[in-house]
Symmetry: C2
Subunit: 472 residues, 2 copies
């Protein structure tokens, strides 16, 4: 029986609540869970407009034992924000204000619902930038990025989103308001709850304010495209560039299959060959860095390496940002099984790319690969006809084999998309029993009644499909 | 009555145990706690040589309800590793091996007892470096740096020690062995226990292995000294350099009083004036960066700015590294009250430096200030005659006033030395009640019997001097 959520009417005005089907269904699908029909429809969607309202809803949810699943832009790809046990979907997108910009300290305070690119628009006139965001920065919210510990193309130079978060205001699973971090750029004060909360996928608390650190915009930018004869050359060139310390701001691998899909779907006219898209940022001496990179690419038989200014590179990045859609839209009969997103040490990157390709051939499946290669982050997509059981099974084997290989070589089962509902079975495989037990205890510390986003991340238990009822 | 620790003889061979006074007293004093006579002497010192031995001692300590205080090099300055409740001092310095160097991945695996500078010696031949360490890197261990979330002169460019830790093996408070993080340079997998454990001051677990990320050695280095007519000019010049995005690898403020103390104690021949010590790292274009910095210093009336190669700068850094000792040794009648180590947003740095100076004059005390200015990190030392009660009281007022001011402007009560026993009364002031309650719960999650380094960090309770007995 679904949870009775009528009590929200006592807390919020009616224009911040919807029991309507359309809104509820909108909050039951992200970029993956919708496709594969995983997760459930919440009973109600609420739009709090203040920290106090977030806290009041969560406190009441504790009283009524109703799950609350925080919701941002719905751009996650592991079902992270899709409810598993109905209850309340808490949509934070109306809390989207810029609270303060402190350009002299390279800092900005924002509410969680602000879209990533809006932060950059707000600080550009000060010559500043929030440098590390996912490719979906035009659509995704800062709060969602923090909850997923997101990262992206520029992580190779600037680190993850979380590395640029100085402080947070958070409502805990019991509805208490806490702050962590500070406005200082470093601290050794107390346990580091801030970095614990970053990436906790809305299971430990709801972020209601974030203090972000900004960087100065680089004086010089160059970007371009390198075309290789084969995929091995391209992935080895990336490995060599990273190992040699080339200072790249982005370095992305695109295999020939992904290029063909982009051409078919986006009419991009890319060569039918493996490519590297690359960007450089510097305050001076950028041509020397480009030349250094070129010398390494030439050692790996680059066929063509065109580098231009920021504007000429922008077209390439537009293509790169839409690559995921191109893969999804390539063939109406074929859908992606899961979002493949593993990260390995850079020396393991070329063999992993090769392995994914070989598996695709062995199992006769389309497996386009691309991603933030400089971090050793491989995005691979196994395309299958969902109505063909045998094909789905083959696909599962390919998907899992790459993931297992990544873990075997010391990598992670998810570089940037989190565990959500998609990777629960890999958590213990990656971290071991003791660490997962510690994670459960941390969950209990912040959310003793298992109200926030229940059923996610931890391996499913037989009893309740992952909703762990803690002993008190 | 002291704890009966004789059970350690059943776990470790006799050459890994000492009940002798000399060793026990050696483990009852760090660079601060010894001076002020805070903390107690442990009943026994043990030197485990493997993860299994660490775990076995901690498991037995749980059975016998005996505190275990992890010990590294004793170079902390807040009594972090000095026992508060006797029991076992667990000295990790015999676990000091380099386990594996993976130069192509810019990674090294080490045991916790290795001295920081030894890591750099081991990787230099590969052109690599562990770039962010405290000034005590020749004496302090990697494990101690991780436990304290240490940082140092190069943090302004390279971040904190913790930013370069990819993975940890840790023995929990119950003696279970867990791993966290991975060899991948980024991950969104599970709760971020790694960064929670970094800086937890040996209260949540004992680090038994660390995977560190390395950086390439820069191709170019320059360093030098800028002399200013007054302290305001110097601190404003630093603020302006940081705000303008000058790419410095180190930027340290030294006030005239510290310079005089260095001259008296170390015979350094520094000018009697406020100074900035600065260093630049780059792969190319370093002269442009130096020129950019010079133009900013000139706008703040720099009297003299000499920049030379790495070797010529090394002498300056030797002075800087020993400044703490110079301050301590300046006058045998005067001892430092507490290590003052606050960090504020960079715009608040010049007024804070000014405030510390004004307080020194107002209360007629010597208050030398220096520190990692580019991070807004101020080290200030209030010197008092400990036998003069009235002077000690004045000193306390100055010490606290600076600290309160740092917190008032959004900073932290400890930039790099942790809470330990020295700053327990500021934890709740900085983080608030809810966050401290969450920290207590996290402590309970990792160490339910309060075995590891009990009595530290949390505000003292009336009952047991901070040793919180958790309900089960």
């Amino acid at each position: 029986m679904p949870h009775d959520c009528s009590f929200v009417g006592e807390i919020l005005p009616s224009d911040q609540i919807s029991f309507g089907d359309a809104e509820r269904e909108n909050h039951a699908a992200d970029w993956w869970a919708g496709e594969v029909g995983i997760g459930v429809v919440p009973e109600v969607v609420v739009w709090p407009e203040s920290t106090e309202e977030v806290a009041a809803v969560i406190r009441a949810a504790n009283e009524h034992d109703v799950p609350v699943t925080p919701w941002a832009a719905g751009t996650s790809v592991e079902g992270n924000a899709v409810p598993k046990f109905d209850g309340i979907s808490m949509d934070l997108t109306r809390m989207d204000a810029i609270l303060e910009v402190r350009p002299d300290d390279f800092q900005i305070d924002v509410q969680p619902g602000i879209i990533g690119s809006e932060v950059n628009e707000a600080v550009a006139s000060h010559g500043l930038v929030f440098p590390s965001m996912p490719s979906s920065a035009d659509l995704s919210t800062i709060g969602g990025m923090i909850a997923n510990d997101a990262s992206g193309q520029q992580t190779v130079k600037y680190g993850e989103v979380g590395d640029w978060v100085l402080g947070l205001e958070v409502v805990t699973g019991e509805g208490a308001v806490m702050t962590c971090g500070s406005r200082a750029v470093k601290t050794s004060s107390g346990y580091n709850l801030k970095d614990l909360l970053i990436g906790s996928e809305g299971m430990l608390g709801v972020v209601t304010r974030a203090t972000l650190r900004l960087d100065g915009l680089p004086e010089q930018k160059r970007g371009g495209r390198a075309v290789f004869a084969d995929l091995d050359d391209a992935s080895e060139a990336i490995y060599d560039a990273v190992r040699s310390g080339v200072d790249v701001a982005k370095i992305e691998l695109i295999d020939a299959l992904s290029a063909r899909m982009a051409n078919a779907h986006l009419d991009t006219g890319l060569p039918d060959a493996p490519m590297i898209f690359v960007e450089f940022h510097a305050d001076h001496g950028i041509e020397e860095e480009v030349a250094f990179c070129r010398s390494i690419f030439e050692a790996h038989d680059v066929q063509q390496f065109e580098v231009g200014d920021e504007a000429s590179a922008a077209e390439l990045w537009k293509i790169r940002d839409e690559l995921g859609f191109a893969v999804q839209g390539y063939d109406p009969d074929l859908t992606p099984m899961h979002p493949g997103d593993v990260t390995v040490p850079i020396s393991e990157y070329p063999p992993l790319v090769r392995y994914a390709k070989e598996l695709g051939e062995e199992y006769d499946l389309l497996v386009p690969t691309f991603g933030h290669a400089g971090d050793g982050n491989l995005h691979y997509t196994v395309l299958v006809d969902q109505s063909d059981e045998e094909m789905v099974e083959r696909g599962e084997r390919v998907y899992e084999a790459v993931l297992e290989r990544a873990l075997d070589v010391g990598g992670t089962c998810t570089g940037e998309h989190g565990i959500g509902m998609g990777k629960q079975q890999y958590l213990e495989r990656e971290h071991g029993e003791v660490a997962v037990e510690m994670m459960r205890r941390v969950k209990r510390a912040f959310d003793p009644n298992d109200i926030l986003n229940p059923g996610k991340m931890f391996p499913e238990t037989a009893e309740e499909g992952g909703r762990v009822r803690f002993e008190h």
